[in-house]
């Protein structure tokens, strides 16, 4: 296995006068060529961690190694990493070319080599031909490309991106997500991105570290993060989820059952290795619940024979619905009084007419759909 390009060892950051740590004993290994995302709500410490890698913040304790070298005494201008700032921080009094060439000028790269590298970087971010423009003649998306080119031209070992897409509109953001991934493939540089947007994280990342209150809540690939969240915070923060408290009544290597007062009896096709009778939480994603008219749906229910009778079933009344085009989202009041969210794909053009407010519905889900969370 290759040596990690960045090693974060028990790093903490405390600001004077603040009782809680901004970053609390975080350890992470980031591999060369990886697209790594730090995901979390605002104030979770993700940006502080990124700024510590860049050198703009000094860790209170712990060490950061870049390419095996301790960065404790290395100032930001001597680190082999470059950063794309949230505001892009494009220099307004310099042209696009001067912006991109600034780092080279400082490094003493001049003449033909400098202009060739600037041209190459501008081509990479598809800004060729705009080199003589001033930043105020560019759109927000173009300014971001300037910031990207300005960092990439330095050929850093690691590129740090602080909320790179937050200032762009939705369409452009979706496009830039693909472009950033492509770019990363092309240049092969390690990318570390900070974001609070889970879509952004899921679509771009190779691995995601979800942060909460200064700690890493889970480190996993996008699909593992979504399908196998480690705790309630991750389940709730990444995507949308229904959470129900319950007691573990059966726990064997190949099956488990939980009794949830809110949801009913939940059956799983695998063990959870928790203490018997323990308080656990069941997380069930809205898209993993099948919705049907009571009675009529029992035929479908019969087809999913992976759970015993009376398990993985619920009944309720539709209290709210919102039609989103590709899916319809239902808010259903279960007979227990708890609320549950169910999404249903609109596979045909009339699917959204199947259910409406105050309809009685029954629901079921497969035995491999719920996730049991111990914390």
């Amino acid at each position: 296995m290759a040596e990690p390009i960045i090693q974060i060892r028990n790093v903490s950051k405390r600001y004077p006068g603040s009782p809680v740590a901004a970053v609390d004993d975080v350890s992470l290994d980031i591999m060369p060529g990886e697209f790594f995302v730090l995901l979390g709500p605002s104030g979770c410490g993700k940006t502080t961690l990124l700024r510590m890698i860049a050198g703009f913040e000094i860790p209170t304790s712990g060490t950061i190694l870049i390419d095996g070298q301790d960065m404790a005494a290395v100032p930001p201008n001597k680190r082999p990493v470059n950063m794309v700032f949230q505001s892009y921080a494009v220099f307004p009094h310099m042209s696009v070319e001067q912006n991109v060439g600034y780092g080279l000028k400082i490094a003493g790269v001049r003449g033909d080599e400098a202009s060739a590298r600037v041209r190459e970087a501008l081509e990479l971010v598809k800004l060729d031909g705009l080199g003589s423009r001033k930043p105020d003649q560019l759109s927000g998306g173009q300014r971001q490309r300037v910031a990207l080119a300005r960092s990439l031209v330095m050929r850093p070992k690691v590129l740090l991106l602080d909320e790179p897409l937050s200032a762009l509109d939705a369409k452009l953001r979706a496009q830039m997500q693909f472009e950033l991934s492509d770019l990363q493939d092309q240049v092969g540089i390690t990318f570390i991105t900070v974001t609070h947007d889970q879509d952004e994280a899921l679509s771009m990342a190779g691995r995601i570290a979800v942060m909460n209150k200064g700690e890493v809540a889970q480190l996993a690939s996008p699909s593992d993060l979504y399908e196998f969240p480690a705790n309630r915070f991750v389940a709730d923060f990444v995507g949308s989820v229904n959470l129900f408290e319950g007691k573990l009544t059966l726990d064997e290597p190949d099956r488990a059952a939980i009794d949830c007062p809110g949801l009913g009896k939940v059956y799983l096709g695998h063990g959870v290795t928790g203490p018997h009778g323990a308080d656990v939480w069941v997380a069930l994603r809205p898209e993993k619940i099948y919705l049907h008219v009571p009675g009529k749906g029992d035929a479908i229910r019969a087809a999913a024979k992976d759970a015993p009778e009376d398990h993985n079933l619920a009944r309720g009344t539709i209290k709210g619905m919102s039609y989103l085009g590709d899916i319809t989202l239902y808010e259903i009041k279960l007979d227990s009084g708890a609320m549950i969210r169910v999404s249903r794909p609109n596979l045909s053009r009339h699917d959204q007419e199947d259910f409406t407010w105050d309809d009685r519905v029954s629901m079921h889900w497969r035995a491999d759909s719920p996730v049991v969370l111990l914390s």
């Binding site: 930001p76 201008n77 950063m83 949230q86 220099f91 307004p92 780092g103 400082i106 910031a147 960092s151």
Partner: protein, 280 residues
């Protein structure tokens, strides 16, 4: 209405309202009529500034021939230039310090620094007089060292203006730009030279203009700090006016007005008027 091809006046179209136009006209008249009269009468072929008697340039010749007047003018320009240079350097440093650092007693430092702006000029003048007297500041030095006392006094009240302008300019600076420069390898000094200074430039030019004009036309403080051999232009004009306002004074004043207008125009040209306007 449409019959006369006239659109009704919209609520915000102030320039099409008669009362607004007359107001603007009256304001401009009161502001500039005295100045224009002063300039016009500098060409008047009469000893008195009352009736127009005919065109002449002889008072300009007279003004240029008046050695003490020319000396006063040269003194004033020298002082203004020196005071501007030092005020800009000191003011820029003070402005950056106040913008950038947090330190104990910061608001006290800020208050004390803007004191020369607030304190009545007459008090500052008297204070300077006493200060230089107590210091036993050497007099009778060769030119331009004999102007040092006045120059120091001028720097004292000019640099806070520069500091204020620079500070307000820096308030619009995006700190991430500074970090971006360092991230790209720039040292502290390179960051200052390449990123901070260009951002500060309109503020520096506006501050320099302020300092220059404040210094050039200062009378009160200069009066208290000047000696018999260090007369500045405003002080000289004052002493000439005590006998009578001759067209010679008009001529000298006209030259000064034109000089400042040209200097201001050059400074504005250097930066672009837009840049200066953005400062405020």
């Amino acid at each position: 209405m449409a019959l006369f091809g006239r659109q009704p006046i919209a609520p915000l179209e102030y320039t099409r309202k008669l009362w607004m136009r007359s107001w603007v006209g009256a304001t401009l008249l009161f502001l500039y009529a005295p100045l224009i009269l002063l300039m016009v009468f500098s060409f008047n072929d009469s000893k008195r500034n009352v009736v127009w008697k005919g065109f002449t340039l002889k008072y300009y010749e007279k003004a240029f021939a008046n050695e003490s007047l020319v000396e006063a003018m040269v003194n004033s320009l020298t002082i203004a230039l020196l005071a501007t240079v030092f005020s800009v350097i000191l003011g820029a440093l003070a402005g950056v310090m106040l913008w950038r650092f947090r330190f104990p007693m910061k608001s006290a430092v800020e208050g004390v620094m803007s004191l020369p702006i607030i304190v009545p000029e007459i008090c500052l003048g008297v204070a300077m007089l006493i200060f230089f007297a107590r210091m036993d500041w050497p007099t009778g030095l060769p030119w331009p060292l004999n102007l040092s006392a006045i120059t120091i006094a001028h720097i004292t009240f000019c640099f806070p203006f520069v500091a204020m302008v620079v500070r307000s300019r820096m308030a619009s600076f995006n700190r991430e730009q500074e970090e971006a420069a360092k991230d790209l390898g720039a040292s502290e000094w390179q960051t200052f030279r390449d990123i901070l200074l260009p951002h500060m430039k309109p503020g520096l030019i506006a501050g320099a203009l302020l300092a220059f004009t404040l210094s050039l036309d200062d009378f009160v403080i200069t009066f208290f700090t000047s000696g018999p051999d260090t007369i500045t232009f405003p002080v000289k004009v004052y002493s000439m006016v005590r006998f009578s306002v001759t067209p010679e004074v008009n001529a000298a004043s006209t030259i000064l007005i034109i000089l400042t207008i040209v200097l201001t125009a050059v400074a504005l040209k250097l930066q672009g008027v837009k840049g200066i306007a953005e400062t405020h």
